[in-house]
Structure formats: structure tokens, C-alpha cells
């Protein structure tokens, strides 16, 4: 039940884009076509689903105050939490690289469609944001972190695909010239965020 709650919450209520504006750069840059945005969205789900649990373990057994106790009792006072940012980003950058190599080697078809997006993802705020929020929420189980990562990714995918679909249509509308492109994308995203407010407060 708790897991389902985290899942639903991370997709709809605490949506990476509509509630926290994370990953906006690639969101705005890639959302011109539905097809490419699906590709990027799937890559984000993939990477979030992998890095959030890994960073969870890293946080639990290395970074938290007193996390090194399992190595030796005398290390219980060591607090490495100040290294959080650097460790998380290192994990993300290397995981993205690793995933890229694996996909290229074992699933060339997938690589052809995902390939160009993967390197972009290392510096996507949504990925680091996912890990940082995971740390802040203080999950106790690996499964919670995994579900949270997955849910956040799906929420991101939904947001980018919706926007891309609207932008494809809006190409035929008569938008005032100064608003064309970026300006209208911002305003549409804002309106979509208002729509997503309807999910606020849902509890399962």
C-alpha cells in the first residue's frame, strides 16, 4: 500500500515538471515532436529507475551520519554527508555511461532510438533531483526508492509527451509572433500544471 502511494504520488502529485520544474531544459528543447519526446522520456525512466536505488544504497551505507558502522564499530562517528552531491553526480554520470555501453552492445535497436538522448540525461536536473529528493524523504527500504525513481520517471514522460502533443497541434494556430516557440511552451506548461493541481491531496 505504501509503495503504491509513493508511486501514484511521484507520478501525479509531486510531478517532477509541474511541481518542481526539474529537467526543464531538455523538456523544452525536445518537446517539439511526440516521437522524440517518448524516446527521451523512456530514457529518463530507465536512468531514474537505476540511479535512485543505487544512490539509496550509497546514502545508506556510505554517506549518512554513522553509515559506516557496518564496516567497523569505531567508524560510527564518521559523517560523510558533505560528499553527497559529488557522489550522486558521479554515480549518475558513470551509470549513464555504463547504460549507454550496455544498450549499444546488447540492444542495438533500442540504442538507435535512445542513443542520442542518453548523454544528455547525465546533466538532466530531474535525475539528480530524484536522488536528492529520495535522500530527503528518508526512505527505509530499497523498494521504496526504486518505486519512487520509477514513478518520477513516468511522471516526467507523461509531462513531456503531453506537451509535445499540444505543440504539434499548436503549430497550426495563430500564436502572436513574440510568444511563438518558447513563450507559448511556458504558458502551456503552466496551464497543464494547474490541471495537475486537481490531483493534490489524493491519498491511497
Amino acid at each position: 500500500m505504501e509503495l503504491l502511494n509513493i508511486f501514484i504520488k511521484s507520478i501525479f502529485i509531486e510531478n517532477m515538471i509541474f511541481a518542481f520544474f526539474l529537467g526543464m531544459c531538455s523538456y523544452l528543447a525536445v518537446s517539439k515532436k511526440v516521437k522524440t519526446s517518448v524516446g527521451l522520456g523512456v530514457a529518463v525512466i530507465f536512468v531514474l529507475g537505476i540511479t535512485v536505488p543505487i544512490n539509496f544504497l550509497l546514502n545508506k551505507y556510505l554517506l549518512q551520519p554513522g553509515a559506516l558502522k557496518w564496516l567497523h564499530p569505531s567508524l560510527a562517528d564518521v559523517d560523510l554527508s558533505f560528499l553527497t552531491f559529488i557522489m550522486f553526480i558521479a554515480v549518475i554520470a558513470s551509470m549513464v555511461q555504463l547504460v549507454e555501453m550496455f544498450v549499444e552492445r546488447f540492444a542495438p535497436a533500442l540504442y538507435a532510438s535512445l542513443g542520442i538522448f542518453l548523454p544528455l540525461i547525465a546533466v538532466n536536473c530531474a535525475i539528480l533531483g530524484g536522488s536528492l529528493f529520495m535522500q530527503q524523504k528518508g526512505f527505509t527500504h530499497l523498494s521504496e526508492a526504486f518505486v519512487y525513481g520509477l514513478g518520477s520517471g513516468i511522471g516526467w514522460l507523461l509531462a513531456i509527451v503531453f506537451l509535445a502533443a499540444i505543440r504539434e497541434k499548436i503549430a497550426y494556430s495563430n500564436v502572436p509572433a513574440p510568444l511563438r516557440g518558447l513563450g507559448i511552451a511556458f504558458i502551456i506548461t503552466g496551464l497543464m500544471a494547474i490541471g495537475f493541481l486537481a490531483f493534490m491531496g489524493i491519498k491511497i
Binding site: A29, F82, N124, G181, A193
Partner: protein, 208 residues
């Protein structure tokens, strides 16, 4: 002191080449902190510091960085600077640092920083890189502060937590607009800023 070219490097990103409204960089980490002016100002300063100094550092060592691990080296430099800023805020501006929460950390993946390192610091001298960093940080901060100004003014009726809308208004039925405090309104405010800017500078209009 500064030559004409250097002044251009510093001032260009404020309006004509603004990182948010023109280059479409670095929107990610920051709009969430525009509910109130105070955190927005602190965020803007933090980004300026990180951007300025990471540009200088990368520019200084640009001839020694192994090309293959370039991105990782850049990330390490940025992340270390962000950690320093975060530690500093926690020690001396605790209240603001609580409001910024994870968003300080997200400066690391702020596309402006990486973007400027790649595009400018990797092949320019330290002093020019520093100006470029400060200029881009300021251009970014400017938008943040404008958005935060409107959101705090209309959303809470305050600026820097000081009441500015007189009681007289409230007695005659004026109400703070709670909607301004919602994330959605930050996006729409940026949209409107872009609209205004592009109406004034028609050269920036996108062709489709």
C-alpha cells in the same frame, strides 16, 4: 578598466542573450525558489558565485584537462563549488538554506553552468571567463528576481517579507492571489516575460 569587449561579455547575457529567455538554459533548478524574493536573491547570488568561479577554474586548467574525462572533471569542479556554497549557507544563512533545500544541490545540473563551461571557459582566458560567468549568472538571477517579485507581491502582498500592500486595500475587499504561489504561475510569469522581451526586441522572435 574593462575594455569594450569585456563589458560586452558581462552585459550581453543580461538582456539580448539572456540564459533563460533566449538561450533556454537553466530553468530547471530555480523556478521553484521564486515564491519569495529572499530565497530567489540568495539563489541568484549562489549561481553567480558557482558560475563565475567554475568558469575561472576550468579556464585556468583548460590546457591540462584530458579530453576524454572532460565532462567528469567539469562536474567535479562544479559539484565541489556547490558543496562549498551549500555549507556556507547552512552555516551563515540557515533560514534561507532551509527554504532552498535540495535546490542548492541542483545548481550542479543547472544547464547554464555546464553550458558556459563548454561554450566559453574551455577556450577563453580566466578573466574573460570570470566576466562571462558573472554576466550569465546575473542574467539568470535577473529573471528569477523579476518572477519572485511578482509572485511575492501578488501572492503574499509582501516584498522581502515586509507588507507593502496597505491595509486599506484589504479592508476594501482586496485579497492576495493564492494562485500566484502555485508552481504553475511561475511558468506563466516566465512566459509573459518572454512575450514582453520579444515584443521589445523583435529580432529574437522564433521562426517556425
Amino acid at each position: 578598466m574593462a575594455s569594450k569587449k569585456q563589458r560586452e561579455i558581462l552585459l550581453d547575457p543580461l538582456f539580448e542573450n539572456n540564459p533563460i529567455t533566449v538561450q533556454v538554459l537553466g530553468i530547471c533548478s530555480a523556478l521553484a525558489v521564486t515564491v519569495k524574493l529572499m530565497p530567489a536573491v540568495v539563489m541568484a547570488l549562489s549561481v553567480m558565485v558557482v558560475l563565475g568561479f567554475s568558469n575561472v577554474i576550468i579556464s585556468l586548467i583548460r590546457n591540462y584537462i584530458p579530453m576524454r574525462i572532460r565532462i567528469i572533471v567539469q562536474l567535479v569542479v562544479i559539484a565541489s563549488l556547490v558543496i562549498l556554497v551549500d555549507l556556507f549557507l547552512k552555516a551563515f544563512a540557515y533560514d534561507v538554506s532551509k527554504q532552498l533545500s535540495v535546490f542548492v544541490g541542483l545548481i550542479i545540473t543547472n544547464c547554464i553552468v555546464m553550458g558556459r563551461l563548454e561554450a566559453f571557459a574551455m577556450d577563453n582566458k580566466p578573466w574573460a571567463s570570470f566576466l562571462d560567468g558573472i554576466g550569465n549568472g546575473a542574467g539568470y538571477g535577473l529573471i528569477l528576481i523579476i518572477v519572485a517579485f511578482f509572485r511575492e507581491l501578488f501572492g503574499s502582498g509582501t516584498l522581502f517579507n515586509i507588507k507593502v500592500i496597505p491595509d486599506w486595500f484589504y479592508q476594501h475587499g482586496y485579497m492576495d492571489n493564492g494562485m500566484m504561489l502555485m508552481p504553475a504561475m511561475a511558468l506563466i510569469t516566465v512566459g509573459i516575460i518572454i512575450w514582453v522581451q520579444r515584443s521589445l526586441m523583435p529580432g529574437l522572435t522564433e521562426k517556425e
